[in-house]
Subunit: 191 residues, 4 copies
DNA sequence: GATGAATGAGGATTCATTCAT
DNA sequence: AATGAATGAATCCTCATTCAT
């Protein structure tokens, strides 16, 4: 419960600013109650990061099922993140604040998956990239900035498609194919 | 003086964590001295942001002189940022921490310049982008993540070139031209 | 049960430091259970003091039966206290912590008995003391410090005998008689 | 200043009970001022212990000058402690609370001096004691209890003399000599 | 009886800011 | 200008106690 209600607090005020008081009044519990569940503010924050990762996993991983093309998988991930963020800005802010923290908000599974997709994409010639490091920087960096843009500015309905297309182009996919993949609808979650 | 010594503090501990004490012991001045120069902690932080913007401007703008090609100008900016960051990690961290703050570390001139270059690049057909918003997200996001990568991981000597090439490709420059522009040496500062 | 398990806690951490939590986890009962037996923490502490006094009484008073000589009675008390403490350090610590508290750990019967013995010893010329007050200070003070010594340092097997002899000498018994009385074995409990 | 004013607080409420609030309102300073001098409550307590040891040293050691007889030195120490305590009960309580803490209130010099006196007294036949350990227990224990008695009960004017005499007897000095030494006036502080 | 979640007053500590020297 | 002692509001954390199940 505290984790759920604290999400909104972090969404609005970030990870550092909120005080215990902010969290407990969001959850409408007493001071002591907080400490029955978490020994420290940091412990709550850590628990939240895990929760966020779980929720995101549950939203995205099932859509990967049966999709092999690395380009499509990257597209699905980006589309999902941006869609979540525009539908629920609180989640968007959480993501924006988690992404840089390298470890906050990303499950190990997701992290490894992204790396694996990029590597495989390069191996099979789907991507033309000089280094995985640079590709990750482009992908994650662009995604984070895109989410922030969605939250802060007014964006066109096809903004997500634009971001996916540009990212794929950056990874060396031809503009035409990039556009194609970017335009495909988000597959339904399976299994 | 306080601004200079405070830069290292912010580089290491971010904008929020440091206390007045951290700043004054870094500058080796007394508590009261701080308040002779700045009325509040925030005032120092703001002054620092301005200073950072000035220093960055001084490093980058003179290299733009005489360069018209938007792709080259983008390349010069990215190369410069990454070079600064790898030569002086303190500055790298300052930049990483400033970039998201939208307003910290970026002079108005730089901000307008980037936007103008992207717009012009699109108008003259140098870039093929669906929207300026998306292009800015890709450029800024990738840059920030790239700087972070340089600071945290071991990166190859041509990492900067890779990032520039990928970014330009993302903006719709053909891979071949992107590589070419990315490989050009940083022009000397002029005027 | 709670009283029993709390003794060890108090032995190790004193009367003030332990929290309710210390007591209930020592007894392995739930928070609420504690309050089914005692209304407050103080109530437990008071009950413990009574329990300690009872246990000590049961250990010492039966050994007084049939012994009239005040010097021997004092000797028996000191020997008993020190023996208990060296056999079970937990009890030793309880006693050390109770003695100063004037009322903790001493039954009224014991207190009155000691005073009566000292007075009678003076009246019948067994002790040569200027005042009962001073004699009590010497007896109780020395006993407390001796118990502490037994708990904290390594002491010879005849330490208890030394303490008894010195105490009796202090009370004006001749060194020779003091040694004799100190050397007598602890009488079996009777009745 | 805080140390001085805190002495009375500890005298009245012990070492554990007082809160920071008690100390600062005794000193009539603000909460933050406390932390400009001591990082933690424990630090104040430690500083106080050092201060107490210094003050006691200054009161007692100068009276030892030129006195070689171990019995007299012990007598001087006991007389001094009890005199201090009856003249200023606050100091008495501090001492009572410090004595057991083995390290609180006793300077290293004082501690070593007492041990040395007892050892030398035994060597030169002034004391007849079975062990130094037992002698220390008798001396310190009796002194602590005597101080407490002075603070809590009404005591005769020669109470201090009685305690000294009994203690020396306990250490094996003949009653007659013990009385003599106990009756000698406290020598003036020298040097 | 036993349980344990919830409470909130109490206490420790931090830190930006003021101000007299 | 430089200093640094003093301030007190804000915050974190502890723990005795209550109470519904």
């Amino acid at each position: 419960m505290l984790i759920e209600t604290s999400l909104k607090v972090v969404a609005q005020r970030g990870f550092d600013a909120p005080t215990i008081d902010d969290f407990i009044s969001a959850a409408d519990v007493a001071r002591g109650t907080f400490y029955n569940y978490f020994q420290t503010k940091d412990e709550l924050l850590t628990a939240m990061a895990g929760h966020v990762a779980d929720v995101i996993d549950a939203q995205i991983l099932p859509r990967f099922v049966g999709i092999d093309d690395p380009a499509r998988r990257i597209a699905i991930a980006i589309h999902s993140f941006i869609r979540i963020s525009s539908q629920d800005p609180d989640w968007g802010w959480i993501l924006v604040r988690s992404l840089p923290h390298a470890g906050g908000g990303w499950s190990e599974e997701m992290r490894r998956g992204v790396l694996a997709d990029i590597r495989r994409g390069r191996r099979i010639g789907r991507f033309r990239i000089a280094s995985v490091q640079a590709a990750v920087a482009l992908g994650i960096g662009t995604l984070g900035a895109a989410i922030r843009t969605v939250l802060v500015e007014r964006t066109p309905t096809d903004f997500s498609r634009q971001i996916v297309a540009m990212t794929l182009q950056g990874l060396g996919v031809t503009p035409r194919e990039a556009e194609e993949v970017a335009a495909l609808p988000l597959p339904e979650p399976r299994e």
